[in-house]
Assembly symmetry: C2
Homo-oligomer: 337 residues x 2
């Protein structure tokens, strides 16, 4: 059987194409009887809508672009997967653009997304704090996940509660007996990292623990392992450190490896907690405690807001949606697996 169209459906169910279209889209008026009739024929014939025609006519592509810095990063991969799945169920295709944290590539992708006339764009995180340049010919709605939009009033910004994450990570260390905490983070600091830092500092304050930038914070550079010498010296000059919060799990595992290499026992001498709950957190010795982001809720919120924008409902514009995180306790903070 060749491609079957609404024309065929119309003929077989003895109505006009207009009516068939109305029934399919549940839009406009028609009697219950014709509805039944048409639906039956559709069922029998196995009719499938032609989205190209629909797109052409409606001037909508039913396609969403997703901008992601690095899909081999677990958190990003997880979010993308959620987005893809949920959008798919809603009849949307997705174009996933891996920018490699490269601003130039990002611009290039943005241009092509425009040319493919996507209905909307979801921007996940990004290279810098700069926000993102959207100099489109036509206005394309977009939402941001984990990246503050440049012009906040233009759109909506969804992210985990990184502040809360930083806070409960820190309290987990304190609860497991630490009183001299260290936060390890990268030099180039994202907006989400900034929140985690705030949570860390506030948790210390709340628990009446001392804090100073020099004694309780350590920065690592981009090139792997660069910091090992520096960090050793730091530890030597701060022998009282007994708990470490790394700004993410990858860094956490690196630090754990370093401590093991130095013969420093985790969690006996030093407790450790990361962020993201990546799968390998459970393969390390000891297993790594962490903070888990709710990627499903993040994605749900992002999609909901984006669809509203696409629908010209601007009530979410300027909003910031914050999703709670969860503590995952493991051996590195003295818990059983």
């Amino acid at each position: 059987m060749e491609n079957i169209t609404i024309k065929d459906i119309a003929r077989l169910s003895d109505v006009s194409v207009a009516t068939v279209s109305r029934v399919i889209n549940n839009n406009g008026r028609f009697s219950e009887k014709t509805r039944q009739k048409v639906l039956k024929v559709i069922e029998e014939t196995g009719y499938q809508m032609n989205y190209s025609a629909k797109s052409l006519r409606m001037k909508r592509s039913f396609t969403i672009g997703i901008l992601v810095p690095d899909i081999s990063n677990y958190f990003f991969a997880d979010v993308v997967q959620q987005l893809e799945e949920q959008l798919f169920d809603l009849g949307y295709s997705t174009i996933i653009c891996n920018t490699g944290r490269n601003a130039e590539k990002e611009q290039k992708y943005l241009t092509i997304l425009e040319s493919k006339s996507v209905d909307g764009i979801i921007v996940i995180s990004g290279a810098n704090e700069d926000g993102i340049e959207f100099n489109f010919e036509k206005e394309i709605p977009y939402v941001c996940i984990d990246r503050k939009p440049k012009v906040q009033e233009d759109t909506v910004f969804i992210s985990s509660n990184h502040y809360q994450g930083g806070f409960i990570a820190t309290e987990e260390l304190i609860d497991s007996g630490c009183s001299n905490l260290l936060l390890i983070l990268h030099q180039e600091i994202s907006s989400s990292s900034k929140e985690r830092v705030k949570g860390f500092v506030d948790a210390l304050k709340k628990n009446n623990l001392p804090y100073s930038d020099e004694n309780n914070m350590f920065f690592v550079g981009t090139n792997k392992g660069e910091y090992r010498g520096r960090f050793k010296k730091f530890l030597d000059s701060h022998p009282d450190i007994d708990g470490i919060f790394t700004v993410n799990d990858n860094l956490g595992l690196q630090i754990m490896k370093f401590l093991l290499d130095m013969n420093i026992s985790v969690p006996d001498t030093l407790k450790l907690i990361g962020f993201d709950d990546i799968p390998s957190a459970v393969y390390s010795t000891p297993t790594l405690s962490s903070i888990k982001q709710n990627t499903e809720e993040i994605s749900k919120a992002a999609i909901q807001s984006l669809l509203k924008l696409i629908d010209d409902d601007e009530s979410d514009k300027g909003k910031q949606i914050v999703i709670p995180v969860k503590l995952v306790e493991r051996q590195s903070t003295n818990h059983k697996l």
Copy 2:
């Protein structure tokens, strides 16, 4: 400026829409002069093709479906990323379907892909050895990566040289001084694992080392950690084992953790090598030697073959394309990082 179409281009460059179309697609005859003229106007106006119209007219969606078992698996994520990037450059969108190794979900996705009338499908690996059921109304071309198609003559099958991988992994252990090797793998064995096993066995043979299923192979089940007791007993009864090849890196890291927990030193007492070269292989202590698959070449080959099929060029049908792998030496087989 509103959407600009070939009609506008035609008017502005003083030719007909037909000619504009010919120039754009470099198809049919036209003089160099008109080519220049049209291209100039296109450049100036920033014209962008409407893919919905093109699709409707050409009865092609310029969309490829990608079926993947689990995108949070590093190897799969890597392949998907490559596919996406390369297809994007070729003007194709992709729909990524994460099946979660669930046959039912897979069928459902397949149906929707058909309804979205994708031009082709790339199937990556899968739950079982059964191949995949393609009971489409219309024939959709597809290629398989790492999963033998059920009817091999129908399509093309691309995979790494898993045999070679198993072979050189084994020889790496032998080269670093091991003479009593163990292969650890999962109960449910994929076609690619099978090849790795063959390579393992043949490498032993070639090096005149003993081999028997009972002494040189250990199976683990699906639920994590199930095997720990059994494996301990196995090691106790096989004290001469001095090198382990795990069928993938995740398993390798699990085993490494187990050995550390048992106070068995890697690589001093026991050498270890995995497969896939996942990122965390470099965060473990010791770092894990591995076999790296060439995802770029795999993707390139898959796309090339698929596009041929879409173009009704059936010369690749029935072919099996094998991509070489590479050894990555690290501490777990006695190498410096």
